[in-house]
């Protein structure tokens, strides 16, 4: 118990949130972190209370701005499950030795996370080197940041020759509209607004060919996961049910999802079209939890070490990916 209080106290440096929320002992409620404007089928369950029904506890949903804040909140014990945390924040947290586990893949979105170049610059994939010396807006430490660095590497551009400013996708879109930046990177609504002023360098398919995979994960605070694996598994079960149902029943679910995501129907549909939701069988296959995912995490971590953004990578990321929850969910 003491450990948690101390953790909460120090963590207040970062989040100021945690002290009173000391968790784990009696599990009457679970707090789940999610993003607004990030529509996923499981928000149908979020809105209709299906999670409470299946898990048998009260479920609190807390909206976050970035996956980094999700890690901080999990560290403080205020959040037990993060739905749709980006891969880079997860890699950063697990590499720093945080007690955090990857339980599943939440959503894949190669086409919904990209860098847009302002049309006035006349820069395309052919003359991308001309970006050197220009100003670029990117939310640092996110999947967009990783994607940008990998694209720059592909075009042979040294990031230190760019003036990189830290802006959230929405602010990046505003800066682009004002013509303050030559390129902006981001996702979701911000990315769609950026596209009004320019175009991408590489499409999602072209990025995939380069091995740039963009997806979000379901991460779990390890202590909570160890104490209540059945809660995590039933969370994943309901999520998978929603993903399955979405394939056949999208018409009925979309308005509920839009409402829960805080978006209009048009934006929701555009975003959902760019999203992929792999089902349990696929996730347990070799491309994901069967080994591909762990290898990709190591790749990302080593890339970050090379770039000097983190100190060191773990030797292997097999230890921070826990497939037990997905296996349990598959049985349910």
């Amino acid at each position: 118990m003491m450990k948690f209080k101390l953790n909460g106290l120090t963590c207040s440096l970062a989040t100021a949130a945690a002290l009173l929320a000391s968790p784990v002992a009696a599990m009457e409620e679970v707090t789940i972190a999610y993003f607004l404007e990030w529509p996923t089928p499981n928000q149908y369950a979020q809105a209709t209370g299906l999670y409470e029904e299946a898990m048998g506890v009260r479920v609190n949903w807390r909206a976050f701005e970035t996956g980094v804040q999700m890690s901080a909140a999990m560290a403080g014990g205020a959040v037990q499950i993060a739905f749709s945390q980006g891969v880079p924040p997860f890699v950063v947290a697990s590499s720093a030795g945080m007690d955090i586990e990857l339980a599943a893949v939440a959503v894949t979105y190669d086409d919904n996370d990209n860098c847009v170049v302002h049309e006035s610059t006349g820069i395309t994939a052919e003359n991308a080197v001309e970006l050197e010396g220009q100003r670029v807006a990117v939310p640092l430490g996110t999947a967009a940041h990783y994607g940008m660095l990998r694209q720059l590497e592909h075009f042979g551009i040294d990031p230190s020759n760019l003036s990189i400013v830290d802006l959230s996708p929405a602010d990046g879109a505003a800066a682009m509209a004002r013509g303050d930046v030559a390129m902006a990177c981001g996702w979701g609504g911000g990315l769609r607004r950026m596209m009004e002023y320019g175009d991408v360098l590489l499409t999602g398919a072209e990025k995939r060919e380069l091995g740039i995979r963009i997806f979000d994960v379901v991460s779990v605070e390890s202590g909570f996961g160890a104490a209540h694996p059945e809660l995590v598994a039933s969370f994943l079960r309901v999520t998978d049910d929603m993903n399955q149902r979405f394939q056949s029943d999208r018409e009925a679910m979309a308005p509920v999802i839009a409402e829960a995501a805080g978006m209009d129907m048009e934006g929701t549909n555009a975003t959902l079209d760019a999203f992929g939701f792999p089902l349990i069988e696929e996730q347990l296959g070799p491309e994901w939890l069967g080994g591909g995912l762990q290898a990709f995490l190591l790749e990302v971590a080593e890339f970050f070490v090379e770039q000097g953004t983190i100190e060191s990578a773990l030797e292997s990321y097999e230890g921070v990916v826990n497939t037990a929850y997905m296996n349990m969910a598959a049985e349910m």
Binding site: A96, G97, G141, V165, D166
Partner: protein, 308 residues
């Protein structure tokens, strides 16, 4: 809770210790030492230097003891030790300071990060004072101008500068200009209100005395009002400087590529808690030094403060 108990215990212990030791050391002779009762007499309270030094040492001791620092001789039990990603030991922070001072962080040296923040604060504060002080004087001396500016100043004063960040980005972009405007807005209202309060605080008897000696309006302003308002303005300047430091960190969250606040925010994204702590400590030290400098300046420039 245990931490608090330990802290209070240490405070009491050192207090008792210094009280015991100071029995032998005579205080400097003076009016205050001759007072028989001093409790409740704020002018008789002098900060004990010993206590200040001990206070800093105790914080370092507790910090070291709970993080397994090699620098402290005493350590908390292992299950209470904090892991470095929560709270790194002081030597990590120190080594990080050295390495960043030598190699820089995210393409800029430590000095570049700090100097850009200091420059932003000073520029914003200076512009705020330049506009705010005349504005405050105008409001303190003229009916029409008081009426005209009162609603604006009173409306803007409680609006936190952070709430203006989205507007500042849309209106002024993400350049240096935008950040300085934000700091200008943070300092402006504080300085205006301090100047107005300074004017209001001038003893009417002095103004009347100067008039009866034949002073013109300009002479009243120059020789009576300004000198008497200066102490209030200095107090306002110290408050404004503090608010500016708070705001610069937030201003650098948005679209910065260097700065002390930027360093802290980016380090937190990558769980580099030692850099976060380093940034906080450096900002604290700089803010404290600026405040000390202003107190010294106040002593030299306004020696008449608090004397009628």
């Amino acid at each position: 809770m245990t931490l608090l108990a330990i802290y209070v215990a240490l405070l009491a212990l050192i207090w008792a210790l210094t009280a015991f030791l100071s029995l032998r050391i005579r205080q400097r002779d003076g009016f205050t030492t001759r007072k028989t009762v001093t409790f409740g007499d704020e002018s008789a309270v002098r900060p004990s230097r010993v206590a200040s030094v001990a206070s800093v040492l105790v914080i370092f001791l507790i910090w070291g003891a709970f993080t397994g620092s090699a620098w402290t001789f005493i350590h908390a039990p292992a299950e209470w030790q904090m892991r470095p990603i929560w709270l790194p030991p002081p030597e990590n922070v120190w080594h990080r300071l050295i390495s960043i001072a030598n190699d820089g962080y995210r393409n800029f040296t430590l000095w570049e990060h700090l100097s850009i923040s200091i420059w932003r604060v000073l520029a914003g504060f200076f512009l705020g004072a330049l506009v705010g002080i005349p504005l405050g004087f105008a409001m303190g001396l003229n009916n029409f101008l008081r009426g005209w500016f009162d609603p604006i100043v009173e409306f803007m004063r409680p609006v936190p500068p952070l709430a203006l960040i989205p507007l500042v980005i849309i209106w002024f972009g993400i350049d240096e200009k935008a950040k300085i405007i934000l700091l200008f807005l943070a300092a402006l209202w504080i300085m205006a209100i301090a100047a107005r309060a300074g004017v209001a605080g001038v003893a009417l008897s002095k103004v009347h005395a100067a008039y009866s000696l034949g002073a013109s309006k300009a002479q009243i302003l120059r020789h009576v009002i300004v000198p008497n308002a200066l102490p209030e303005i200095f107090t306002g300047a110290r408050v404004a400087m503090g608010v500016c430091w708070g705001t610069v960190v937030a201003a650098e969250l948005v679209a910065a590529e260097k700065g002390a606040g930027f360093t802290i925010m980016v380090a937190s994204r990558f769980m580099q808690t030692d850099i976060v702590l380093m940034g906080i400590i450096l900002i604290g030290i700089i803010g404290y030094s600026i405040d000390m400098a202003m107190r010294t300046a106040e002593r030299f420039l306004v020696p008449w403060k608090g004397r009628g």
